[in-house]
């Protein structure tokens, strides 16, 4: 982000300290492709094999191709710029998203479970996700694209801290 004089539109929140791994860009690009390709393929198949549908599959196919390309090209680096995380001795703080940026703060005293998750694409690329849930169903903090060792280490630290913090987390 280019530095500029803080204008009144700025949020007062500072960015979390750590970035995620750089090759998480490949992870997001892979997921974007897996969303865009089926749509494009179905439309292309319709265009190729079903002549009567050409009036609407034609324009839809070109729109889908352009939008899909833009999505795969623009979204991953944007996400890499936005996704950050930080674990202090009081709370977990993470920012995520691309078009819509979300900053989430979860205090250690409200944490209920800490999990490390590795999907198939994560395992291919050597990444992991850290999922921290609280008592609320919508209060979970998910940090994707971490180094697996870092994720496991952070999970262990969080487990230790939350076990020592009193309270029943509701």
């Amino acid at each position: 982000m280019c530095s500029r004089v803080s204008d009144p539109h700025d949020l007062n929140l500072r960015r979390p300290r750590h970035r995620v791994e750089r090759h998480a860009i490949a992870l997001w690009a892979g997921r974007a492709l897996s969303a865009v390709l089926p749509v494009v393929l179905v439309l292309a198949a319709g265009y190729a094999f079903w002549d009567a549908s050409r009036p609407w599959t034609g324009p839809l196919l070109s729109v889908a191709c352009v939008l899909g390309l833009l999505y795969v090209a623009v979204m991953p680096p944007w996400r890499y710029r936005v996704h950050r995380w930080e674990v202090t001795d009081q709370a977990v703080y993470a920012s995520a998203g691309w078009f819509v940026t979300e900053w989430r703060i979860a205090p250690h005293s409200r944490i209920q479970t800490v999990d490390t998750v590795r999907g198939p694409l994560d395992q291919l690329l050597g990444l992991a996700s850290l999922v921290v849930t609280t008592a609320s169903s919508s209060g979970a903090v998910t940090i994707r694209g971490l180094n697996p060792k870092t994720a496991v280490q952070t999970a262990e630290e969080l487990n230790k801290v939350t076990q020592n913090t009193p309270g029943d987390a509701t």
């Binding site: 539109h9 007062n12 819509v100 703060i105 205090p107 209060g139």
Partner: protein
Amino acid sequence: MTDQSTHPQGDDDAVEVSTQPPTDQPEVPWLRLDRRMIFVDALRVVLTQAPALIALLVVGVSASSVWPLIIFGAWGVLRSGANVVRWVRTRYRVTDTYVELRTGLFVRQYRSVRRTRIRSADADARLLQRLARLRRVTIGAGQMNTASEAAIRLDAISLSAALDLRRELLGTQAGDTTVASAPATEARASEARASDSSPVRSQELARLHWWWVFYNMFSFWAYVMAAGLLWGGQWIGAMFGLDLWAWAGDLADWEALGLLGSIAVGLALTGVLGVIGMAFTFFTEHAHFRLERVPSADGTVLRTTQGLFRTREVTRDDRRLRGVALSEPLLWRPMRMTDTAVITTGLSMWSAAVTILPRGPRATARRVADAVLDEPSSPLAAPLRPHPPAALRRRMVWAATASAAVTGLLAWLGATTSLPHDAWWITALVMLPLLLSLALVGYRALGHTRVGRHLVVRSGVVSRTTSALRRDAVSGVRVRQSVFQRRLGLATVSVSTAAGFGVYEAPDLAARDAAGFALEALPDYVRPFLTHSTDETAPAAGAAVPAVTAVPR
């Protein structure tokens, strides 16, 4: 870290089902359900068969058109027989540590609940049971609302036995060891009665006013109810040889009125019928309504009792209470119609148990909410900080874009397919003002503030909901900002909590206030992440912006 009581699975641990009794206490006798239950049920069977008998004998209709009534009658007889079997098979008893239920003739099955896990013992009754002074006792353990499966259900025992049982179970809920050492039932009962006369009395918070019916009668459901009544009437009439449709056709000269006139008259008449039906339902459901705060063994509970034929009693633990939410539907805003619900853990927000008042005037809702929250300065009466005009611009832009998109689509369809060509501008004429006014209404509903221990947020177009949530119930904070919001200088702050809906949102705050509001939600945890140090002690009512002192970091 993971506490059992936060997960809604208390039921599985509280109720034990086995083929052996949990404790072997031969001196505590097994009690039967009340014998009058059989007679009450037999009477109900006779009453359900009455229409069939009348139809057959008096009116003289042939048997083929009353077959549904015959089926109902047969079903009633079967149910009554099953009840007799149930009475023979079922026994219950209350020991020092358990409430036990024994069912089965040849293979015995024991169902038991630990007395320390019992959270509620409700006694309700249908009309015939009330006349016979019987009550059905539903004992609940763990986190349950009244609609889910109860731990133990005794259907039915006599009124005095039910009241004694309730007093015994709820009075000594704290697991008092001095009481447990006394084995005799009489000593336990007298101990319970003594602990009931505690210095804290029951406090009545609200009582039914008959004119609340006007707030409940007028609703879309009136038409649904009228349709149901008419269809049912037509069907029953057909069984007796009457044709409601033909009779209605003879009532008036429909051709003279024309199509629109007949539809208007028809809608008006069904509307009247529906409104009367809704009023009737309101009175049968909410008769004798009372909301009170009642002391229990470890604190107080909010208890509602209501019902004409069948009393429903619901208790909500005050220790689980985290806030109150008032919602006002859009169309009835001039009438100030308000629904009152509590924000609590342990109850699904969609269940009926969270509503503590029938739909009524806002003044009553406010008063009751203040009494429930019991704060020195009322959170729901505090003036809310308005959101910036940029939020209105954002909503207007969305409204205009949506109408433009729909209009464009209709224009394209009108040009390429067989849709009428004029559809697009008629739709635009209707849709654009409507969506723009909805955007304005939505903007004016926005507001947020902090009052003492509570955070208050308000939003919503179709139903404007003001939620007051305790600050110590907040388990996380989320600040969202889309690219459009960033350009307009807005952000949305949501607080997540274990109670109620799980997340409460203050949409479209000014960006520079967002961090301040997040700080008010989680004071100690958000402060390390701010760029400027913000003065957290914003005045409770009528505050504009918390003071920001820029500290170079």
